[in-house]
Symmetry: C2
Subunit: 349 residues, 2 copies
């Protein structure tokens, strides 16, 4: 796979997903290609969408127009489409065609800010799961006091059997090796306390599976949400419901804290003076989402466990956030051994 910085990786963009329309995907592509959001590899883009909606936007971003091909798709997945409906009736949508091109090998990965359920269903249907993986999971990198950690599942499976949680541990470990560069990642299981009488039936069973695993997981044990953000583990395994609650709460509270801080600071004269200084030294990185405080730099969750790379961007992502999702897809492509590692580990179970 592509590890050389001189090589060019191809990424499919679903321009019709997301709450804010095609402008976000195209402008996000522009930020990446122009280097405002820096990326190690050269990228070539395939952009999927309705001609009438995308071409006018594309004509405004010459750099993107030059470095991409446009594929006209007559249909689009809507945000309230059920996964089963999308599977049956959205076969000419931008999302479907983008993932189909991953399957064909025309592109190396696909990025979409569209309907998560439909994206997972279509990806699973077209790409299939890796050998030995029952259910794919959504994984992302979240910030901690030490550095970062990989969290999964973030919403693909609301209810999870112990076996699935165990597979998430294996998948998360391979992902953490690839994206965090940690040799032997510590794997934690999200729970509401460290005592062994705490938690649901599934969590307790999954604990036993991870503790007794043949694969010699570097198992940390139970992790409370607070400890996860302290950085005690490199991988935090959760069912999709509580993982999603953790992710959404993290995003919301990071924003809320800055909101309250700003309000408090600006309520005094001295505070407003401090704010002006802060703006000049902190917000300089605003254009690229390069600050550690900018949640947009954490956009881009990977659908793990599939025979292909699909990245989900936030539905409400702006262009900076979308550029980071494309970057995530590029990173995932350059870590081609990850899938092989997952398969061999799961098969050893």
């Amino acid at each position: 796979m592509v590890r050389d910085s001189g090589a060019c990786v191809s990424v499919a963009l679903d321009a019709m997903g997301g709450d804010l329309g095609p402008e976000v995907a195209v402008k996000g592509a522009d930020l990446l290609l122009s280097g405002v959001v820096p990326c190690k590899c050269k990228v070539h883009l395939s952009i999927y969408g309705k001609e009438s909606a995308v071409l006018p936007v594309l004509s405004k971003y010459k750099l993107v127009e030059k470095n991409s091909v446009f594929i006209d798709t007559p249909d689009a997945v809507l945000c309230d489409d059920r996964p089963s409906f999308a599977l049956r009736h959205r076969r000419k949508s931008s999302m479907w065609c983008a993932i189909e091109d991953v399957k064909k090998g025309v592109v190396a990965s696909a990025v979409s800010a569209g309907n998560t359920g439909a994206l997972m269903a279509i990806s699973r249907y077209l790409l299939g799961t890796l050998q030995g993986i029952d259910r794919p999971a959504i994984a992302a990198v979240l910030p901690s006091r030490k550095n970062s950690f990989v969290a999964l599942d973030l919403g693909a499976n609301a209810e999870c059997a112990p076996d699935s949680l165990f597979q998430f541990a294996i998948m998360g470990r391979a992902f953490a090796r690839a994206v965090l560069g940690v040799e032997n990642p510590r794997v934690g299981l999200l729970n509401i306390g460290a005592e062994d009488n705490k938690g649901t039936y599934s969590i307790k069973e999954a604990f036993a599976l991870m503790r007794d695993a043949k694969q010699d997981i570097n198992f940390y044990g139970y992790v409370e949400a607070k400890e996860a953000f302290d950085g005690v583990a490199d991988v935090v395994v959760a069912d999709g419901f509580s993982g999603n609650v953790m992710l959404k709460t993290c995003e919301a509270v990071a924003g809320l804290t800055l909101h309250i801080l700003k309000k408090e600071i600006c309520s005094s004269l001295m505070g407003r003076a401090a704010m002006r200084i802060l703006r000049s030294c902190y917000f300089k990185e605003r254009a690229s989402g390069g600050s550690a405080l900018d949640v947009r730099s954490y956009n881009g969750a990977v659908l793990l466990g599939l025979n292909g790379i699909v990245v989900k961007s936030h539905g409400s992502a702006d262009a900076v956030a979308f550029a980071h999702a494309i970057k995530e897809a590029v990173c995932a492509i350059s870590q081609g051994d990850m899938a092989k590692e997952m398969i061999s580990e799961v098969s050893n179970g």
Copy 2:
């Protein structure tokens, strides 16, 4: 019940709970009695603990010594006691005796920073649940962009039947009326999406119960964690697992955001200058936990659905946080109609 600001309310303090020993409870009491953490009512305290551990501390805080009685209890609940063990073998503990005195009517409420499972089990055993309530829940007030919201259950019940979630809605509504002063609170149900195919079986069933309720709940529908902190609902109902994940993530990420901000600011000369200004204008309220950014002011979760008032403080609470938990107990006492409202609403179901 006591609504007059001239009246004196009596609160029992378990001085042996919490990670940091009896000093926290006694110093917390001092901050409240001296007015550093302001409170509308006069408070009289009963302090429960081992004589050898508590009396030396008490002698350092004369104001507390003067305004409290000390009850020597030979035993204490440990943080890793199972609830069933505490029920059988900790009947002479500070926690047990404090709650027993709530039952006898000697004190109006109890506050403990001890083992949550044991506190819930002992409270439920001694006080019993309100008529029509199957399972008590832990509720607390969390911050939002609009103001605050009540969240429950925050960890008492890892798995919840739809009926329990429905009862939490009724309990949470009564609690929100009392502590937020909202006449007709909007009730939301925590989920991982707004679409009706999202979520677990229990959540979907609870949705139907709330939507079709005779009690005419002001039902907002599904709420994602992000929306909860945007302030779309006054009450957010969750199972104890995801509620706990939301609570712990909220606390962790508020701290993490300030930690990262401080690190970023202090990495530049101008930033350090701004930090000095900020310290002078913002941290002035540090002594009381009075700032909206200080998570300590949100300490104190109420065990709802019992025949009596029990408040759980964080195990890691410091004195300021513990003072806020005592304040929470005082507030709950002054809202005596809450229990009656819950009973009548649940009976109407």
